[in-house]
Symmetry: C2
Subunit: 382 residues, 2 copies
């Protein structure tokens, strides 16, 4: 997850070439240099991107540009190894700087995606200097003093944090990708009928393990098709034409860390210690968007037509739910898209009355699952 090169190959989702392997989409210089925005302006905040060479770091730049995020300056930060390299952004060339304790002098907002240990070390230092840190790692998510925010779901959790002269710095955590994608669809229904139990099975893409994992999936697939032994560096097993239980560590209760993130983060984001969640997280050979099969149990009755209407007007959600033509969300369709797609919306026949629904959700792991959500958090600060 630490090299600009890792994003060279991925699978598109937003053009005529939706279904082809494509080169240099994220980093396409043509895209960045031809857009001259008014977003570089004196009254914007000063920004820093920590981990700018990684998959999410690169997506930060792409999303900032796409959304005309205002800034008066932007600092590109990475490890010593990348320091001195060039990074083009909105028609200007920047020199990547090494992340140090003095990187945050005068920085209003820092977007972190360089792993949990970097966040743990440098997040508090930045906040101490007056910077508002939006952190994509798991380092502070369960810290009760740190808001854990999906802007469409719980913006109020960070309402006490604002930019401005004399204001203090702060830490804000970006939830885990599978939590964000699940709750984008489940929350509007939860508001209507209160979710009391949720059973989630995930179909997670390579991108969640970083760009090197995406590269390995592609390499392995080529090797398997050529009858060669696949290269297994990232996952120590064959990923091509296979799937496996999520690579996160398994805890003493038998759940892996990815699954417990869904359990714990849902409770914190919904501010509901009693909501019951179980999850089985599986890695599938897909590039950059997650899918989730979600079974919901409600306190109040909720029929599928009402659920569909609620989701139709939910921000950041699109419905793809055409039973006649068997057209439902797929990871490929949502790749490089902002919205989370929901389909297979149906009354759960295993629950009495109208107290259960099954839904199927897909969302881009790199975008809404990481970079977009973080930048939406930053937008709430403006």
């Amino acid at each position: 997850m630490n090299s600009a090169a890792v994003s060279r190959h991925h699978f598109l989702g937003d053009t005529a070439s939706i279904s082809r392997l494509h080169t240099s989409k994220i980093l396409a210089p043509s895209k960045i240099t031809t857009r001259v925005k008014m977003s570089l302006r004196e009254d914007g905040p000063s920004l820093a991107v920590v981990g700018v060479t990684g998959a999410v770091g690169q997506e930060f730049l792409s999303v900032l540009s796409d959304r005309d995020f205002p800034y008066r300056s932007i600092k590109m930060l990475a490890s010593k190894r990348s320091a001195g390299k060039k990074q083009t952004f909105e028609g200007r060339e920047y020199t990547i700087e090494e992340l140090t304790v003095s990187s945050f002098e005068g920085i209003d907002i820092a977007l972190f995606s360089a792993g949990g240990s970097i966040s743990k070390e440098f997040g508090p230092i930045a906040a101490e200097k007056g910077t508002i840190v939006v952190d994509n790692s798991s380092a502070f998510r369960m810290d009760e003093n740190v808001p854990l925010v999906i802007p469409e779901v719980n913006p109020h959790a960070m309402s006490h944090i604002r930019l401005g002269a004399g204001k203090k710095g702060a830490l804000i955590a970006n939830p885990n990708c599978s939590t964000i994608i699940c709750l984008m669809a489940a929350t509007p229904l939860h508001r209507e009928a209160k979710v009391i139990r949720m059973v989630v099975s995930t179909y997670q893409a390579a991108s969640g393990a970083g760009a090197a994992a995406m590269e390995e999936l592609e390499l392995q697939t080529r090797e398997v098709l050529e009858g060669k032994q696949p290269t297994c560096k990232i996952f120590k097993r064959q990923y091509a034409f296979n799937l496996f239980s999520h690579n996160a560590s398994v805890l003493s209760n038998g759940y892996n860390e990815e699954e417990m993130k869904l359990v714990k983060e849902t409770r914190k984001i919904w501010n509901d210690a009693n909501v019951k969640v179980t999850a089985t997280c599986i890695r599938v050979p897909v590039m950059r968007a997650h899918a989730e099969s979600v079974n919901l149990q409600f306190e109040e009755p909720l029929d599928e037509n009402t659920a569909r209407e609620i989701l139709r007007s939910a921000p950041g959600v699109v419905i793809i739910d055409d039973r006649a033509s068997n057209n439902f969300p797929t990871p490929l369709e949502v790749s490089n898209k902002d919205d989370v797609a929901v389909g297979r919306i149906r009354q759960d026949i295993s629950q009495d009355g109208n107290h259960g629904l099954d839904i199927f959700v897909c969302g881009d792991q790199v975008r809404k699952g990481a970079a977009l959500n973080a930048i939406q958090i930053a937008e709430l600060l403006l």
Copy 2:
């Protein structure tokens, strides 16, 4: 699903080359011709294989041979298009014959896998002639006069059907692949603590849609890696590096037919009209083994250690459940294997007390999900 050629390429699961694309495994003449068995003998039943050129038809031959199934004759039946072609089996060459109304004269056991409409037309004709039909299609599964059997689960359902002079013919249905794989793991636990509700999410392989689907997945993957538009004949969408809701027709209740098979077949096999089942069936880019995430709710308490002990002694089940090394069942590992693998066995933290478990199950769709189960049914007749 109609060509011997379709099985040429698939992914192995049982040798050192477990992880490579492999040629001619199912049809390997070396395997068939070098095994001279005592299974061809005067006191064996006369067999017919209907749909012998398909993926499951070919697997019938492979499993018959592997299991030394006794027979005094075997008739290879297929559509007119394949009639006259040669089929080698256990060192002898057979001529494939066209399936007609007179094909079953003198046949004791017929193994059908040529689609539902062929079964509907010729199954009753064969039974009328005194043949016991083991049918792999969905044609008769929900017929209350036809036993629906997983030999490890409900062999008693067919105990009234036996081979022998003067006996009548009969129909016996092979359950759907995803039902077989799920119930192989769930039934031993059900016997102990009674399952009252089951939430299933599947990760289904290409093979369930026939060998042509497996070929298309391979072709599409090559095309995508070469930057070409993928060929979409079988599924009308990109399958490579993608996943999608199962291609079965969606019914008025929003469930697709594949999901309703899991619901209805479970009730029939367990002889329990009240068991509550919901399912979300998803097709993933894997070749020939299904995975299923299964959440179980029990009437009686059942802790995970007891569950693991029960599954350890369950016939046809292997446990792969190593939390420390993150080693759990994968579709690739069970490919070409007879046993269904179970792992991720853990107490469901979303259910109170010891009344819930989550498990993850993988099984070969062509083998235990189809051909092996059918031949185990036939073995019960001997």
